[in-house]
Symmetry: C2
Subunit: 249 residues, 2 copies
DNA sequence: AGAAACCATTGATAGTCATCAAGAAAAAAG
DNA sequence: CTTTTTTCTTGATGACTATCAATGGTTTCT
């Protein structure tokens, strides 16, 4: 067992993401207007709120009053479709949870902790108020939303179209790697905090197919997988297999 | 033959969308600041630029200098994946073409006219300049981008997850209907301006499957389809089949 | 530590959908 | 209007993947 894994298991201290890597940071750092520096953001941000594994952060349809960013841990997003909950995405440290709710009254989906997690929260109302007064904040908000749009479009392009199940899974791994890289973590070795069933549900496959294709990708030497930990042998080879260059080498 | 169809075929005058239904309208109408009304937007918008059927509006990777909205006609978006172009979406009157390019240097995909079309264009540089000066414009820009984010997330949720090919096609039709409704057109009867092959490519199916499942949906009385024109018999029944309530009745 | 619940894995079978092939229909071009 | 090209449609076949069933492994709870 590596020391990394041991750290996760014994959990002496959560592996918080650095604030400057967090997607929320533009809305969470002091603003300078002329000669004055305003640090009101510190007042409206509640840092590192703890949630237990399995706990619901919010439910689809709940009134959206807070914007969340993950400080440590990961979670899954689910939405009610045809009488059951379907996994529609995952979130890792540094990522925002439901930016869409900024302009909507309620959350578009539910969020559930996949492990013990810490979240930073920011009041939606306060944020909008300040943004309408200070152009600098408005601009930062704009940047956050645009980046979110680019991200979802990238993953949508990755998943859409004529790709078979094996490519879908490879694309899923590549997408996660890209996001871990953006958050400043290792992107060639990371932990899959979700179950095989969650992955299957998310990709529209059966859990058996996910397991078999993980093994197939391992046999073709693209990845190595053991339980929940995954290792990408060659990012370039994986990108070539998927057919999209997401991570520059 | 209905008079509507005749109008399309003989093309006496394109069926322009009303400006107030266009997604670009927030950036295309006068701004009032205090007692003054500025109509600079009129100067920087080039209205109803004509493109011939099959013509490329822009290509993936081109420097993005303009934001487009469709005034009449429709187009398809394609991206280069694995040595060939894949259809990644379509656009109908009232819709914007590549909002992401607002914060990126180049276009993320190519755009090609599916029929003779008219586009409104707005200079990206000018727009950003004005937005940084006038909060009202910044706010409107924000609204446009957020709406885009909500739209893509909705269609992403619609397509993702464990749905079979028949539901995929039904979801595709429903999504188009929703968008035609948003643009103020009939959403129970409209024209599919793209080929079956384009639809297949977009959905990741074969063209034969698309044809057979169109017929299957017709046999179960959900839709009626003849050549390029489609009619939804019951929006509610279709929504129930897909499992998502996109259009409120 | 032991029990219970959940998750991962493997094999066998059946259903769905891609592919190939060939011809009909529609649209575009001359 | 006729030719040419593109698109649409149908049938037959095979590959891929969902489903069912059974078991072993891991984690969680008491």
């Amino acid at each position: 067992m590596s020391s990394d894994e041991q750290k996760i298991l014994t959990k002496p201290e959560p592996d918080y993401i650095a604030c400057d890597k967090c997607h929320l940071s533009p809305l969470c750092s002091p603003v300078t207007v002329g000669a004055h520096a305003y640090d009101f953001t510190g007042k409206m941000v509640n840092r590192r709120h703890y949630f237990k594994r399995g706990e619901m952060i919010f439910k689809q349809g709940d009134k959206a009053e807070l914007i969340f960013a993950i400080s440590a841990g990961s979670l899954k997003l689910t939405a009610h479709v045809k009488d059951n909950d379907r996994v529609i995405d995952f979130r890792i440290p540094g990522e925002l949870i439901d930016v869409c709710s900024l302009n909507e009254g309620s959350y578009a989906y539910s969020a559930q902790a996949l492990e013990d997690i810490y979240l930073c929260e920011i009041g939606k109302e306060t944020l909008n108020d300040i943004a309408s007064q200070i152009p600098e904040v408005q601009g930062r908000l704009m940047k956050v939303v645009s980046q979110e749009l680019i991200n979802i479009q990238k993953s949508s392009m990755l998943m859409h179209g004529n790709i078979n199940s094996e490519e879908k899974i490879a694309a899923f791994i590549l997408n996660l790697a890209w996001r871990y890289k953006n958050s400043g973590y290792s992107y060639t070795r990371f932990k899959l905090s979700m179950t095989r069933t969650d992955i299957a549900d998310f990709l529209g496959l059966s859990k058996e197919t996910v397991i078999r294709l993980f093994k197939k990708l391992q046999n073709s030497k693209l990845i190595q997988i053991e339980g929940k930990s995954i290792r990408i042998n060659s990012v370039d080879a994986l990108q070539h297999f998927v057919g999209i260059k997401l991570i520059s080498s």
